[in-house]
Symmetry: C2
Subunit: 375 residues, 2 copies
Amino acid sequence: MTHAQDALTDKNIGLDDLEDLAQGAAFLGTGGGGDPYVGMLLARHAIQEFGMPEIIEPEDLNDDDTVFTSAMLGAPTVLVEKAASGDDIDLSINKLAQFIGKKPVAISPIEIGGMNSMIPIVAAARLGLPLVNSDGMGRAFPEIQMVTYNVYGVPTTPAVIVDEHLESVIVETSDAKRAEDLIRVCAIQMGLSVMISAYPLTGKQVKDYGVTGTLRIALGIGRALVEGRKRGEPVQAMQEFLRSTQYYNHCIVLFDGKVTDLRRETTRGFSIGHCHIEAIDGSEDKMHIEFQNENLVARVNGKTVAIVPDLISVVDRETGQTITTEGLAYGQRVKVIGTSAAPVMRTPESLAVFGPHAFGIEEEFLRIEQIHNVV
Amino acid sequence: MTHAQDALTDKNIGLDDLEDLAQGAAFLGTGGGGDPYVGMLLARHAIQEFGMPEIIEPEDLNDDDTVFTSAMLGAPTVLVEKAASGDDIDLSINKLAQFIGKKPVAISPIEIGGMNSMIPIVAAARLGLPLVNSDGMGRAFPEIQMVTYNVYGVPTTPAVIVDEHLESVIVETSDAKRAEDLIRVCAIQMGLSVMISAYPLTGKQVKDYGVTGTLRIALGIGRALVEGRKRGEPVQAMQEFLRSTQYYNHCIVLFDGKVTDLRRETTRGFSIGHCHIEAIDGSEDKMHIEFQNENLVARVNGKTVAIVPDLISVVDRETGQTITTEGLAYGQRVKVIGTSAAPVMRTPESLAVFGPHAFGIEEEFLRIEQIHNVV
C-alpha cells in the first residue's frame, strides 16, 4: 500500500496533511472552489488553535443526526483577496442551528475544491465537531443548486450567509434555483465573499445522496503528487491513484500544451471565460476550455474530449499542481486531465441540474470513458 | 368641528372611511408609497373578512410593548401591478416574531403613503391587533434607512421580507444603509414587490421617535377633500384642515399648471425621474420637480420653492386628488402643494439621513415657511 492509498484509512490525519489535502482537493475542484493556498492557511490556523477535527465516515452517522455544511461563496477572484475571520463561519453555523432549532453533530463539505474543502475543516475545528468524509458533488460547481442533495429532494434552505462585517441573511424558499439567485445577489451586495451554511442534512441524507470518500481521496491525490514528483512523474502517479478509486477510475490526460489565449471576467458574481491551449508536441492541435468558476467543457480541434459533470483539471505539466481558473496565465505549460465523475453525478436527475444544458452548452453529456472508448 | 377635524378623535373609523384615509395618505405620501386605490382594495378585503382593527394612540402603549411595522417595498411601477395575498403579510410578521422571540401587541405603519398606510391595516386586521396612529416619517420615503427610528438609533434589522411565493429573507446588520442595500437587491430579485416587517419597536420608541397622529390626519385630509369638493374648493379645504394640525400647518399652493414634460424610469429598484409643469395663468413660469419614488424638490424658474423632507404633493387641480409619481401624465392640470414636515423630521440628525444631500441634491434644506416668509 502506497502512502497515497493509505490516505483512505489513515487514522492520524493532521496539520502536516493539509497541504496534500488542499492540493488534491484543488484537482477535484476542476479549476474552481477558490485558492487552495488561502484555504490551507485558514485551516492551518484553525487546527493550530483548536486541534484537527476527527474525520468520520457517512456510515458513522445515525440516520436522524443533524449535519451542517459550511462553505465560502463568491467569485474566486475575490476569494483570493479576502479570507474568513472564523467568527463569520461560526455565526453561519450557529445562526442556522438557532433558526431550525437543531445543533449539528458533524460538519460536511458541500463541495470539494481548494477553498471549500478547507472551510469545513475550519468550521469543524472551531466548533469541536467531527468532519464527514463526503460532500455533495465530488467536485466543485459554481451554483448552489448544483448539489446531489438538491437533485434528490433535500431543501437548499434555510440557508444562512454571513459576511466579514458579521452581517447575515437567512434565505428560505422551496426552489433551489431561486435560492441560488437570492443568495447570489446578497453575496454580490456583501462583497462577493461570504460564508454559507445551507442544506441542513440528516445522517440518512448524507449516506443516501452524498458523494462519499472525497476528503480522503483528495488527500490521496495530494500524496500521490508528492510521491510522483520524487520519481519525476507526478501526473502519472496521480492518475495511478485515481484509477484505484471507485469513482474517479477513468482519468485521462486529454492534452499537453501551452496556454496561448485567455478570457476571464467576473460577471453576475461568477468568474466566466475560456482558455486556449496549443499542443506542445509541435502539432497543430488546439484545446479550448470553457469555464464558469469551474472548467465545463474541453474540446480539441472542436471535438469534445470531456464535459461537465465529468472533471476537467488543468495542472502544471512538470509539478502536477492544479491551476485554478483564476490562476491560469498566458504561457503556462500545462496538462489537461479529464476524470470520471461519481455515478450519482451522472444520473438523468443529476444531469438535469448540472449537466451541460444547465450551463448553456447545447451538446449532451457523454461519459469520458465513452468518448475515449476506454469502457 | 368639521367632519374632517372629527377624524382626529373619531371612535368609529371603519370600512366607509378607507377611501378618505387612502386619499389623505396619498397626499402625505408626496407622490410615493404606491397606488392608494390598490392598497384600499386590499384593506377593504381584509376588513370585510377580519373586521376593522382598533386604532390606538402611541400613549396607549406600555414602554416595553413590542410593536411591529408592516409595509410593502418595491418600485411603485410594480406595486401597481402586484398585490399582496395577505399570507405574505402574515408570514413577514410571524417570521419576525419567531426570529426575535417576541409577539407584537400592535402594528404600526412605517410610512404614510397610498399603499403603505393600507398594508398595516391589512396586517392588523388579519392578526387581530390594534393599529398605532403614528409612523416613522409622517410622509413616504424611498429607502428603508429614511425613518426617524433609524435616525434616533433603533436598529433597522432584523428585517423580514416575503414575496408572493412566500419565499423569505431575514436580514441582520447593524448598519441601516447596508440593510437598505441588501433588502433592495433581494426585493429586486424577488420581483420588486415584497412585504416587509423591519424596525421591531418598543412602545417607548414609538412614543419617543414616531411621527404621531398621522393615520388620523390622513383620514382628516381625505374628509376635507370630500367636504371641499361639495363647495368646489377641495384644495382649499385640505389646506384649511392641514393648517389646523400641529405639524402640517404650513401648507402652500406652490404652483398651478399643466404637465408638459415627464421622464420616469425604474432603475436600481426605484422610480426615478422629473416632471415639468407650465403655468396655467398664461405666464412664462415653469415648475420642475425631481422625484425618487417621492417628490424631492420643486423649483419655479430655477428657484427652489420646497425641498425634502418637507412634503411636495401634486394634486388634480379640480378634484384635489393626489397624483402619484407613477400616475403623472402629460397634459394633466395640477396644483403642486408644499407642506411642512414634522419637527422630528427637520432636526440636524434627521436631515443627515434624509435631507437633500441624501438624495444627491446639493442645496441645503430650507423650511417651506422660511422660503415663503410665512413664519
